[in-house]
Symmetry: C2
Subunit: 175 residues, 2 copies
């Protein structure tokens, strides 16, 4: 019944480097700390990404646009153990600033992470990364606030995704 | 720049019990494992909730409706150290099934958690809970798929929240 916490944002995890570079879709991503900026991502040991993060101790959390949903789906359903996923998708891999794992040119943002901890919880491993650098589309974030028109992608169920919309906006005032 | 991972879903964390019961809003929540069903929530040691979870080793992750945004805002901006937040909000606290921390009657879902791990990451502590029981509005989830019309609440920036909408739905097929 983990769907009780859905819908969730969907992210891409880039791992490996050079020819070994692999991309997978992941929903189970959160912020763990603001200063230092740490993110956590839970990944199954069955995933090729799990092995690549353990090997290179680096990964990139990439924020995909809804219009790339088909590419996201491929990265989430194919295994990098069997196919070279980067040849199946339309993403352009570009050098990152501070890690050897590449970033995705078409992404809304790329968060470059150095692994600082890995801990097994149940059937997944939580990889904790310190965000050592990042790049982003500056039309997507203004004064640190996401532009909700940019086309964020969310995941509702196995094969059901959607482009995030706003039904009603609330701006609150502290009393 | 942690806003690069926003917008995020907003949840409520219920902690303590009886008169000590406290509710806080939290975005930094994720699933960590499906079997067993484990969730993680990152909470600052400055928060009253942090002390209550450490004391009682239980908490409830509650999924609020967008229409309760004002109550969510109160739980996110007031501290349970100074005020009895449950008296400031319109939520009805009801007994949980398997923990002594109450659930919220008006919530879309309540996930009852027993603490299985706590680990400091930067300026927050990740509390890991095993979901030992749950309750939910059965119009909100059908065959394990969220009903996107139910009015999920999302958080975009400090005082900016919104009711989740769907701009475009994608249903994909595995090749």
């Amino acid at each position: 019944m983990y769907r009780l916490l859905y819908p969730m944002r969907t992210f891409l995890i880039v791992s490996g480097r050079d020819k070994e570079t692999n991309i997978m879709a992941a929903d189970w991503v959160t912020i763990l700390s603001s200063e230092p900026f740490l993110v956590g991502v839970a990944i199954s040991p069955k995933r090729h990404t799990w092995s690549l993060i353990n090997k290179y101790k680096e990964f990139v959390v990439s924020v995909p646009r809804a219009k790339h949903v088909n590419d996201v789906w491929i990265t989430g359903t194919k295994s990098g153990k069997n196919v070279d996923k980067k040849k199946l998708v339309s993403f352009t891999l570009v050098p990152s600033k501070s890690v050897k794992v590449p970033s995705i040119a078409e992404a809304i943002a790329n968060l470059e992470c150095k692994l600082v901890d890995a801990r097994d919880y149940g059937d997944h491993t939580l990889f904790v990364g310190e965000v050592v650098a990042y790049t982003y589309d500056d039309t997507a974030f203004s004064k640190n606030i996401p532009n909700l028109e940019v086309g964020f992608l969310m995941h509702n169920a196995w094969n059901e995704f959607f482009k995030l919309g706003v039904k009603k906006l609330y701006r609150l005032k502290e009393e």
